[in-house]
Symmetry: none
Subunit: 212 residues, 4 copies
DNA sequence: TACTAACCGAGACGGTACGTCATGTCTTTAG
DNA sequence: CTAAAGACATGACGTACCGTCTCGGTTAGTA
């Protein structure tokens, strides 16, 4: 995640673009938008900074001024697209878990390309700081909410107490990622349910309000 | 280049006879080996065909003659390196499952780079045929064996009967992949055990020989 | 061919040449100079664009940006080297003609390689436009001056009136080229004189101030 | 010029020297023919040995076995195509000279490409021996005959006695070459006449049977 | 009739250069 | 002072030929 973006985002309220020589937010948005647009057509390894600049009607140097690499740009683009969704908190714990898993699916099954995050992660692997920044911006906020939910499930005895909630999240997200990247098994409507079911299969049925 | 010819003629046994107009297996192996060697130093996106050819002491055209792309080459290199391991089949089903999970870990946590398969998959995404070929060469044989084992666990009631064995494998492999690619959470010695435990947590303890 | 340079440099206000960067004349000169330097060592067919770029300390792409082909580059290089020489205009017509023939010789016997123009022409043969441009840049200006002189000789009755001055020039230049390319007969100091003599041999001696 | 060709041509009649298998003349002809055929389509610099071999249905190595280079092959191909024509020897010396010039034109204006000999010469320039061999095979025999004719013209006083016949031939051939290579001036039916006329223009008209 | 050269087609091989493309930096011009 | 335009050195791309080599299959003439 580009530091510049991070540090300049909190700052904009102060002054609208008025003065001549400050950073132009339109330019910034145009670049992000162009990148997302191009990713509908082209897969990540084939996406070039030149094409992004051209599509945004922006000089190449401008892109390099604000983002250190293609990975940083795309990382920001993805982060800006997906909103953090609160998993629901209802009486029906099982339904809540399924909803949470569905959020995972939406996140990692994102756009038509599907392998995007995977490819991005592979590219970011050499720049651990940037990867970490992407993870903490994009991944962590989502996980925090789900972790809470899973903790509730553990507290209520629906999930065994010695299971690490983070491991469950890794398995959910990982399964989606894996299917997208390698399996190409279609991820159907019931996939979230299946993911959840696996963890509940051994638990006493009556605790989940599951009909026998 | 006539120089080489001139200087290599006096050299009688320098190279293995390199069979005539058929493919030279030495060359083939040298390329694969060079690729694997370079991947210890360089991550996949930065690996170039030129460097492979140079490291193998081979003409670039020779590489292109036998592999259509970097992805295809690396796919073969990986496949050739890892041997299919039979998961054990003992009385201790739980131990067997852990051993199987450990195989998954070894496969997807492969070489130092770690993200290799992920990156490869991202690159292969545009060439579904090649991806399919990689999957069926590399992934499927390993899965077949594990699937059998999981089926046994289901049959014996250790895993709930409505769980899809393939889903479990996706989750195992996915969790490893995910941690490697995004989390960078270290994968410890007990990770396999944790992976297995999750699925058994609800099962009656006595069936697994697990001490209460 | 230097169309780009020639036509775009004088262009002051024609197009909003868009803002930004202009061609670097140092680079341009370095390439031309490197090409000429290399041609002292290497004959034209063996001259490579890569070696020119390397010798000029310039990127290959830069060469291709400004010249469409090796032929175009060398054509410009040659053109830029040779200056158009005014043939003299004295009372001694015979001496003037010899001087003009010597200019032809110098032009077509140019650098050590000698066959350069021949080779270039052969290479340019497939790109008639470029050849034409080379001819009109390099060849025509020189011919115009000589043609005038020959016309004077015809007017004065030294050369028969039904002879085409252009044919004479073709024969002069051709003879030089032919000897360079095929004969390898040395072209001595008296060659210009011989060339001229041939056309005057039948003319009345007294008109040329030639001793009988 | 390939020595092999020279030494093996006299070989067919008697007995193919020694044991086993000898050179296949069909192959040899097929290569020459393929080269000439390709030269109708492709200009000399773009002609490749691979394409010749392929077009001749012959292995690349076979071509290299008999000719050391593309230049050698094409030199032989050209030589084999053009037959040495005896210039006529009639009472009409002027007509004879024109006929001789026409032979020069035919030789150097050869095939559709036209610049072929020029290009070949440029390529052969680095291999003087080969060039010499081409010249003595292709050029010299033709010149010998014309030289005789020119000598007759000199002896009869039609051409000035101090003119070098070789120079005249150089000018004839050179003019044709020059027009082909650089000028692209069409060479019309009267060109031979013009070439000859130039040398005769100053001569007494009655000696040439030319009407005043 | 079988042996033994050689020639021959095919094409793999280590290479060089091609001409194109994208990289990331730098400079120039405009607003 | 930012931003557009884009020149630049760099270096990998994937292709085409180079000239050398080995293979396996003819195809002669001995033998």
């Amino acid at each position: 995640m580009p530091d510049q973006a991070a540090t300049s985002k909190p700052q904009p309220k102060r002054k609208p673009p008025s003065s001549g020589n400050r950073r132009n937010p339109h330019t910034h948005k145009a670049v992000i938008k162009a990148a997302l647009e191009l990713l509908k057509t082209v897969h990540y390894p084939a996406l070039t900074i030149e094409s992004i600049a051209a599509a945004a009607g922006v000089g190449k140097a401008t892109v390099y001024r604000w983002w250190p690499s293609k990975g940083a740009l795309v990382a920001e683009a993805i982060s800006s697209t997906l909103t953090v969704e609160d998993p629901p908190d209802t009486d029906d714990l099982r339904a809540d878990l399924i909803a949470a898993a569905e959020i995972s699916i939406r996140n990692y099954a994102y756009p038509s390309s599907g392998v995007l995050i995977t490819a991005l992660a592979a590219d970011l692997a050499e720049d651990p700081e940037l990867l970490q920044s992407f993870v903490s911006t994009f991944v962590q906020p989502r996980r925090a909410l789900v972790r809470k939910l899973l903790q509730r499930a553990i507290d209520e005895g629906v999930i065994a107490p010695d299971v690490d909630p983070d491991l469950i999240m890794d398995m959910w997200a990982g399964a989606v990622m894996y299917r997208r990247a390698l399996n190409h098994t279609p991820i159907g409507n019931t996939f979230a349910e299946e993911l959840v079911e696996v963890f509940l299969s051994g638990a006493p049925a009556h605790k989940l309000g599951k009909s026998p």
